[in-house]
């Protein structure tokens, strides 16, 4: 495949809350919950942040790093399950805010946690067929779990933007393939504030089946095995699932190390696998092979067989912050402030 990643950028909101603090409010052992999920803290967006602002920050970083003229962007796709508007695209605001308008196509994607990887696949098609020069795929979320629900311990906020193109490619996409079924493991109906899920049903028949089937098919088609990859990145709804699925597939801790970011920032949904990939690319040297497998409830997995090119050695990462900075920094807030920021407090009025 001719098309690949030309540049990327990440943004994670500044505030953090710990599972221990969440559990304290709901009378449960939050620390054990956090240990069980392998989540030490999760990011919390400020009241003036949403999917649009996070996407814009991530994309601005990507464009500056890659020295990309925004007017050369032919498509902007934003994948999220927390678009601020039900009707009115996130992608148009983002495109305008980075100076990419008006001659481009833009749309919002939704496929639970894999809308961002679906946007990458779409951009690969458009770039590969030479319909556009650069395509932007963004995965961003500010999702929430209902107060007291297990999801509340991990649902966080963050975004990653990938600029796809065929010139100055820093990471080649050798192949992408998907595994999709109708599996009702997690959903949110129109007008509902919080999602619903099938509890343990989200595990074996959903996440594990789709990720393993998709990864195995990829390695079968490519004639590769776990040992051929320097890094592996999975969708990470918590810190435990990706470790378990990695072990099932035969990957080592070392291969999974940099692709796992959820323990420090929580589950960023559509951005989760993409921020993991960005963390790998922050450290990758030329000619390193990477397997990424995203997952979205509902359900489907997108696998990508990637390899960094010699271009990555010259890629300027100096603008914007590395993923590790977001993992190490932050401002911890108590539950009351978190509830205020996330609109969980009824303020009165109409």
């Amino acid at each position: 495949m001719k098309a690949g990643i030309v540049s990327y950028g990440v943004y994670v909101p500044r505030y953090r809350i710990t599972p221990g603090e969440i559990g304290r409010v709901w009378g449960s052992d939050g620390e054990s919950m956090g240990e069980g999920l392998n989540v030490r803290r999760k990011s919390v967006p400020a009241p003036d942040e949403d999917t649009i602002t996070i996407s814009t920050e991530a994309l601005r970083t990507a464009l500056l790093r890659g020295a990309i003229d925004p007017q050369q962007i032919g498509a902007v796709y934003v994948g999220s399950e927390s678009h601020p508007y039900a009707v009115k695209p996130t992608a148009t605001v983002v495109a305008q805010a980075v100076g990419a308008t008006p001659f481009l196509t833009a749309a919002d994607f939704e496929f639970a946690c894999k809308a961002g990887t679906a946007a990458i696949q779409t951009c690969l098609g458009l770039v590969g067929s030479e319909m556009i020069r650069y395509g932007v795929a963004i995965g961003t979320d500010t999702s929430q779990g209902a107060p007291g629900d297990a999801l509340e311990y991990s649902a966080s906020a963050g975004g990653a933007a990938f600029v796809m193109g065929s010139e100055r490619v820093i990471c080649q996409v050798a192949r992408t393939l998907s595994y999709t079924t109708d599996t009702p493991d997690f959903w949110r109906r129109e007008g509902q504030k919080y999602p619903s899920h099938g509890g343990r049903f989200t595990g074996e028949p959903a996440y594990f089946r789709h990720v393993t089937e998709c990864a195995r098919r990829m390695m079968e088609v490519q004639g590769t095995g776990p040992k051929d990859y320097a890094h592996v990145v999975f969708h990470q709804p918590n810190g435990k699932f990706p470790q378990r699925v990695g072990k099932q597939l035969g990957f080592s801790e070392a291969q999974m190390r940099y692709g796992l970011v959820t323990p420090d920032i929580g589950n960023t949904y559509s951005a989760a696998a993409l921020i993991g990939l960005a963390n790998v690319l922050d450290r990758a040297k030329p000619r390193e092979r990477i397997l990424m497998v995203g997952y979205g409830s509902g359900a489907g997995s997108d696998a990508f067989d990637l390899e960094t090119t010699d271009e990555i050695a010259a890629y300027d990462r100096s603008f914007g912050r590395p993923v590790q900075w977001y993992l190490d920094s932050g401002t911890e807030i108590p539950y009351a402030v978190y509830a205020k920021f996330r609109g969980k407090i009824h303020m009165g009025g109409s």
């Binding site: 505030y15 221990g20 304290r24 009378g27 400020a46 009241p47 602002t53 900075w325 190490d328 401002t331």
Partner: protein, 162 residues
């Protein structure tokens, strides 16, 4: 503010779109069509070009707002600053992601894209620039609320039964 009025300002609010006098080099934000700095203002006519500010600057002065404007209730206390941009123009904007105590004159800041306000729950959402400190702030306990108590300090009625 009407939808159309805000929409007309999006080049400024989203992208810090100002103007620059090619006669004397002075930058303006918001954009001007005539340069007041040129000795003869006429010299600048048709020489003003669109110019985008980088968003880099430092705090020239600031105030801490305790009585919020409508729509800013969740952010109190917040910092409103005059930011002197590296290109020259002085902008008014909120400084976010920093506690008010951390903001000082001379603090280096960078423009960030944020939600400015919403026209109620059903109305349009307005976006634009605010500022955030440039320096890397280390991991810190929250300035906007009391520190998170250690588990042993938590009143027993809030804890899970042992």
């Amino acid at each position: 503010m009407s939808v159309a009025r805000f929409w007309r300002e999006t080049p400024r609010r989203y992208n810090l779109g100002g103007s620059k006098c090619t006669n004397c080099g002075t930058a303006y934000f918001p954009p001007r069509s005539v340069c007041p700095e040129c000795p003869a203002h006429r010299q600048s006519i048709e020489k003003m070009i669109p110019f985008q500010l980088s968003g880099e600057g430092e705090v020239l002065s600031f105030t801490i707002v305790h009585e919020p404007a409508e729509g800013f209730e969740l952010q109190v206390p917040y910092v409103l600053a005059l930011v002197k941009t590296v290109e020259g123009p002085v902008l008014t904007g909120q400084v976010v992601d920093a506690s008010p105590e951390a903001v000082a004159i001379g603090l280096k800041v960078r423009a960030t894209f944020r939600k400015l306000r919403e026209e109620g729950k059903a109305g349009v959402i307005h976006y634009g620039y605010k500022f955030t400190p440039v320096e890397d702030l280390p991991f810190a306990a929250g300035p906007r609320g009391p520190p998170v108590p250690a588990p042993s300090e938590v009143p027993s009625r809030d804890r899970a039964p042992a």
